[in-house]
């Protein structure tokens, strides 16, 4: 599903126009991002939770060059699906 298809479907489900849905989606994405980057966990009921995950700096060994290289730490956003979502994706499984 592309961005356009998603906006169309979202507009249909939310009872909005496509433009309204697009604008609101932008605001919603920015809101979620801001909250996550503020070290907050965003929980969407029946869907899952988004949270910031920090990866520590680590050393990597390159066997071909026999060289140690430090990979700097990074920050990413992790999504953890809720059990309700798992049930919806896997109907008939407990």
């Amino acid at each position: 599903m592309t961005q356009k298809q998603f906006i169309n479907a979202l507009a249909k489900n939310a009872g909005m126009t496509t433009t309204e849905a697009s604008d609101t989606m932008d605001a919603f994405a920015a809101l979620i991002t801001d909250c996550i980057l503020d070290d907050q966990t965003v929980m969407l009921q029946g869907f899952g939770s988004f949270e910031k995950k920090t990866k520590a700096e680590r050393k990597m060994y390159n066997p071909s060059t026999k060289d140690y290289r430090t990979i700097p730490g990074s920050t990413t956003i992790a999504f953890k699906p809720s059990t309700l979502l798992k049930d919806k994706l896997n109907p008939g499984q407990q």
């Binding site: 599903m1 592309t2 961005q3 298809q5 998603f6 479907a9 979202l10 489900n13 939310a14 009872g15 909005m16 849905a21 604008d23 609101t24 989606m25 932008d26 605001a27 919603f28 994405a29 920015a30 809101l31 979620i32 991002t33 909250c35 996550i36 980057l37 070290d39 907050q40 966990t41 965003v42 929980m43 969407l44 009921q45 029946g46 869907f47 899952g48 939770s49 988004f50 949270e51 910031k52 920090t54 730490g73 990074s74 920050t75 990413t76 956003i77 992790a78 999504f79 699906p81 979502l85 798992k86 919806k88 994706l89 896997n90 499984q93």
Partner: protein
């Protein structure tokens, strides 16, 4: 600790941010969830600009082992929803955390700098005494000034190589200068420095010296042991008196130095061998073969005690 934002709180914030009423915002959030799930189930991939990509991934069936019973069993496959954050968010997240890292790392970078500088500061400190040493000389004799200039690099360079030149140069210099009254402490400190420098070598030298002394003692002991043996071995009066005295009654008092006086028969005692008998009577173990031949022992290593041995 991270605080949790619930769906309700999020829809309230969205209403405020997007300028829509709360009911619409709530409906939008619910529609968002529903659309992503539907899109994930139907298409497998849902791309959302500014947030990321949701993908449904199928995990195949796999076998596993029950650790307690050791039985193999099948874990059924399932579908999961994975999320990959947008590149922009990823980069903004890393950049946002980067300042905090740089703040923390900044002092870490700064700290080595002073550490690196300190040796630089120490170096001039070491150098400064040298000019101080030289200055009085300059005051005393102007002609000597070029000489210390040449000497100072010598003092710096051979620090590791040989301590002796350091001693010599300082001895001439410091004893002229220390009218302040500190000649002894400087020499002592230098001696201490040298001892400190060559501490490891001193230990090694001490160990080697000890080993040599031990070797010498051992060698001298061995010599002492050998000498008494040599004294007893010769076929003099003492040997037959102590060893063969009780055994050879007829020849106890007169050990066989001449062929006439030598007994013709020897009674074997405990601890004796043909070799010892040969040494006893003929001063050499070589006659053992002759004794053996004469007596015709089946096994020369196993002769019963009290056997009469004929002597050739």
């Amino acid at each position: 600790m991270s605080t949790k934002i619930t769906t309700q709180a999020l829809s309230d914030m969205l209403a405020e941010k997007a300028g829509i009423n709360k009911r619409t915002a709530d409906a939008f959030v619910k529609a968002f969830v529903q659309t992503v799930i539907d899109g994930g189930i139907s298409d497998g991939v849902v791309k959302i600009k500014g947030l990321g990509t949701f993908k449904t991934v199928k995990v195949a069936d796999r076998e596993s082992t029950n650790v307690n019973t050791g039985e193999r069993f099948l874990i059924a496959g399932y579908t999961k929803l994975s999320f990959t954050p947008d590149v922009d968010i990823q980069s903004s997240a890393t950049t946002e955390t980067a300042p905090t890292e740089s703040e923390t790392s900044a002092p870490a970078i700064e700290t080595p700098a002073p550490v690196a500088e300190t040796p630089k500061v120490e170096a001039p400190k070491v150098e400064t005494p040298a000019p101080v040493v030289e200055t009085p000389k300059v005051e005393e004799t102007k002609a000597e000034t070029p000489a210390p200039v040449v000497e100072t690099p010598k003092v710096e360079a051979p620090k590791v190589e040989t301590p002796a030149p350091v001693f010599d140069t300082d001895a001439t210099k410091t004893y002229e200068k220390p009218d302040d009254g500190k000649p002894a402490p400087s020499a002592l400190s230098q001696l201490y420095d040298i001892v400190k420098k060559y501490k490891k070598w001193l230990w090694l030298f001490a160990v080697i010296a000890l080993a040599v002394i031990m070797l010498v003692i051992l060698l001298s002991k061995n010599k002492n042991h050998e000498e008494p043996q040599q004294q007893t071995n010769p076929f003099t009066e003492t040997v037959p008196a102590t060893q063969s005295g009780p055994r050879i009654e007829p020849s106890a008092e007169e050990p066989a130095t001449d062929e006439n006086k030598r007994p013709r028969i020897h009674i074997l005692q405990k601890g004796e061998t043909l070799t010892t008998i040969s040494v006893l009577y003929y001063h050499t173990p070589d006659s053992m073969g002759a004794i053996w031949k004469l007596n015709k022992f089946p096994d020369p290593n196993n002769i019963p005690l009290g056997t009469e041995i004929q002597l050739p």
